[in-house]
């Protein structure tokens, strides 16, 4: 089983304390059964990463660093599931997956960690992804966080990790991630995809331009296509997410010499691959974020409490509450005017051509409109404000 140069990682996982919260992650039973079948040596060693370690630039030292590293994946849709899949298999020691959404049938075309059972179970994406990741690799710690990333919670989601990965679908969240990353001095990797085209860029605060250096402002709504109008192809998303993942492995293993310094643009349908030279923008652009230290998304002066959702004719409204909603009570009231069902994670309510998905913290996704004002009215009308 062992090669001469291979030293098994002799670590009693129970001694790692907070890093391996098997009870909380629900992994204990799975881990026990895998141990019985494969034996503890294989599970707790680096053997599973042997092919990765044989890749010269990485080696065993790189793998040990990867295994000891921590990342947050912001968003667990198409980009996020590919990122989560790669990083779980590569043995990143701690992976926090943050997503606000639930799995729907039209996600399965490209969101590789999900299946039809997950749709039927109404599982949050973060939770379903975490369950799959633990089955793939019981050696790592996966934390699922079902929430909308905003300026009030982002620092708590990224302060304790080495790297932040972009699996989001909107610029508001990306500028927020950029603010947090620059403020904390943490690397992050941007990725975006529409149709068959995608972009990615690796951002190391202080050493590369930040997102706002390169993309000063995002286009106004309606000015550019979205996933809804232009569609999106699975292989295009997988490609961009894989570019992000390989950059993650370089950063986490400490092999930063080969990092991407360009804005990469690909069009898989038309076979174009371009490396736009953005490195020289550092210090040249009068960037409010990384030159002047203005964190406008992080301090809440930019960004809103409502978001139109890419590709879905829907609006999300966040109304942060200290209390947890009582779904039983809400369902009994709403059942008189529409169809209602709920589980511990969400309540779904359909009426007059609109579908509300309500979360315990008061956040709601209202389908059937792209109009924020209308969505706010519907929220107030049916859920109360």
């Amino acid at each position: 089983m062992k090669s001469a140069s291979f030293q098994p990682l002799r670590v009693d996982l129970s001694e790692l304390g907070g890093m391996c919260e098997w009870a909380r992650t629900g992994n204990a039973l799975h881990r026990e059964s895998v141990h019985q079948f494969l034996g503890p040596l294989v599970i707790e060693s680096l053997e599973r990463y042997s092919r990765q370690m044989r890749f010269g630039p990485l080696g065993e030292e790189g793998q040990r660093r990867i295994s000891a590293s921590r990342v947050t994946i912001c968003g667990c849709g198409a980009l996020g599931t590919v990122l989560a899949n790669h990083l779980a298999r590569a043995g990143v020691g701690f992976i926090r997956v943050v997503d606000r959404d639930f799995i729907e049938i039209h996600n399965l075309q490209r969101q590789i960690l999900f299946d039809e059972d997950d749709v039927a179970s109404n599982l949050p994406k973060a939770e379903a992804a975490a369950r799959k990741m633990r089955l793939i690799n019981s050696q790592i710690t996966v934390e699922a966080v079902v929430t909308d990333i905003d300026h009030t919670n982002i620092l708590s989601l990224v302060s304790d990790v080495d790297l932040i990965l972009d699996g989001t679908d909107n610029f508001e969240t990306r500028y927020l991630i950029n603010d947090a990353a620059v403020k904390l001095g943490k690397p992050w990797i941007f990725g975006g995809v529409i149709g068959s085209e995608g972009q990615t860029m690796t951002i190391i605060p202080g050493k590369t331009p930040c997102l706002r250096c390169v993309v000063e402002t995002s286009p106004p709504p309606g000015m550019t296509p979205t996933c809804e109008t232009a569609g999106v192809l699975g292989p295009a998303v997988s490609t961009i997410a894989s570019f992000e993942a390989i950059e993650a492995l370089k950063i986490l293993s400490g092999k930063t010499d080969s990092l991407n310094r360009d804005l990469i643009m690909v069009d898989l349908w038309n076979w174009s691959f371009r490396q736009l030279k953005v490195a020289a923008l550092l210090g040249k652009v009068d960037c409010p974020t990384c030159r002047h230290g203005k964190f406008e998304w992080l301090d809440g002066t930019m960004g809103s409490q409502t978001t139109t959702l890419c590709g879905r004719n829907a609006v999300q409204i966040s109304t942060r509450r200290d209390d947890i909603l009582d779904f039983q009570e809400m369902a009994s009231r709403l059942s008189e005017i529409g169809n209602v069902r709920h589980n511990a994670f969400m309540l779904r309510f359909e009426t007059e051509g609109h579908e509300f998905t309500v979360f315990p913290d008061g956040r709601a996704i209202i389908k059937g409109t792209n109009d924020i004002a209308k969505a706010k009215s519907l929220y107030a009308q049916f859920l109360g404000s």
Partner: protein, 91 residues
Amino acid sequence: MPLVRIPTPLRPHAGGNDSANAAGATVGEVLNSLTSDHPDLRSRLFDGEDLRRFVNVYVNNEDIRFLDDLDTPVAPTDEVSIIPAVAGGSV
């Protein structure tokens, strides 16, 4: 004549073309002749005389903000690219 690469979202406003030759010795001149051929493009690229803040332009893979902005010289064999920000990620 320099070649201008037109991104997918703007192609409907440029006769469906993914690229077009446009005369000019600077980026500004090239984009002016492009938008006089395709007037619909003008308001999508420019706010008055200035480029819109969310439109990035590259000459041979170099951002013109690092060069000389709209005054950046362009040779007949150069390629000018209009690069929009990609917002999607697909939830």
